[in-house]
Amino acid sequence: MTLTDVDTTRRVHAVTRIVPRGRVTRRVVAVVVVVLALGGLSVVVRNENFGWPIVGEFLFSPVIMQGLWNTLWLTVVAVVGGFVIGVLLTAMRNSGTAALAAVSWTYVWFFRSSPLLVQLLFWFNIAALFPVVSFGIPFGAELTTLLGWTGVGEIEHTFFAFDTRNIISGLTAAILGLVLHEGAYAAEIVRGGVAGVDAGQLEAAHSLGLPRTRIFARIVLPQAMRTIVPNLGNMIISVLKATSILSVIAVADLLYSAQIIYNANYRVIPLLIVATIWYLVITSILSIAQYYVERRFARGAQRVLPPTPLQRARIWLQSRLARRTGVPA
């Protein structure tokens, strides 16, 4: 605020300081809320039944670390695999070919409509439905019968075959179940993002004669990513937590590893806390990563990107320092 000489004729007045509007009520409420929150925290921390020393003892134990690692890589596989399926399903849905669009729609309908747990149990028990997995000519057996070929054995139209029990373990069931299930969700996320890209972008790309795959990968998808990333972040976090369901088919994820330990030492609560702490840590890291990924895809969307929290903190510190030392920042 510049100081101006009082000029009665022009009604200009001098201001030396601006006093902000009072915030008494808000401050009182804030103090009450903080005291209540601290009280709740202290009840939890001082309750010996939570077994905090045991939490500390097992937080970094090898079994938990192995479980954490399994949870992490299964999440990565489910999200990457699911996203690839989602992009393919979106391409099919938007292909303009009715059959492909119908297959895409049906896939999403089916895998979104049944619970993940049920799907996992199906995959785990798939050997009961299909004892042998074989790769060959589709409808090969029917064709040989239809054409009346005699003396043609079962093996003629089959290139190779496996006993299902040998390839479907708990882990393969887990990967299949997660990837296929997440593919359906990713398809809707990607489709929503693609639908949000302005039609003029496509027209411009077409008028330049760009190849179709290039238009999708270079023009449409990067712009769609702006809306895809927040939803994808949601999806990653929900997959991370969904991996805990894998414990029912004996996959040694984070929760299952905690269960192994508390089945031996009966300290159920402390070990559930251990698992919870790790879920919280991973989710927090993911949230921070999401923030920066969103900034990356916001390129060109705003004239100037707002500063990150870290940059803001640095600017604030510098201004504080400057005020104290009297040197302008």
Partner: protein, 258 residues
Amino acid sequence: MSAQGDVLLEAVGIRKSFGAHEVLSGIDLDVRRGEVVCIIGPSGSGKSTLLRCLNHLEAPDTGGVYIDGELIGYRLDGTVARELRYAELARQRSRIGMVFQSFNLFPHLTVRENITEAPIVVHGVSKAAAAQRADALLARVGLAGRGHAYPRQLSGGQQQRVAIARALAIEPSLMLFDEPTSALDPELVGEVLDVIADLAASGSTMVVVTHEIGFARRVADTVVFMDAGAVVEQGPPDQVLDDPQHPRTRAFLASVLA
């Protein structure tokens, strides 16, 4: 105004309907090499649809567009027109530059990336050569040194000039302009029209859909007046704009010049 050669673009009997509404009811248009054609007419007269048919952004219901004698979008098989595969259509389109009313620059790419994308991907130009050419084109549209900006950091007039540079980068034999100044603030219209006029003077073949009657008078070799999906009148600007024969042309000019 420039010297003109043989016929470059030939549109024959273009009809196009959206649902029950016939937008184009049989348009014939010839554009000679080096000719500048300005299409004027009231809103909804089908000017933009006609332009979009020329590079097959819209497929005409009947009729054909020939550029250098080559039918756009189809291969003729006796009396049967077979739709071209996408890659072949893309090759045809890469010889026609188009500038849109709303610029349609790629917002996530820098100005230079916008310009170099098609030359690199479609024409196989090396990155370094494409970048060098992009900088030359930027200089030509008066934006030297702005290659690293993102489109949103530029004014509307600057964005449209980048869009012109992007269309020129594919070295098109024909340039299409779809109301290139309609989305601009009045004080920015001039800078874009000047760039287009420069192109016209350098001998580019162009079809310009525009509401700028003064601009049409200044650069057009031929002015085409369209109304209700048909060409009402066409000829040199001094004839169509200053001595219109058809009452509808007179009514339109009276309303825009009033």
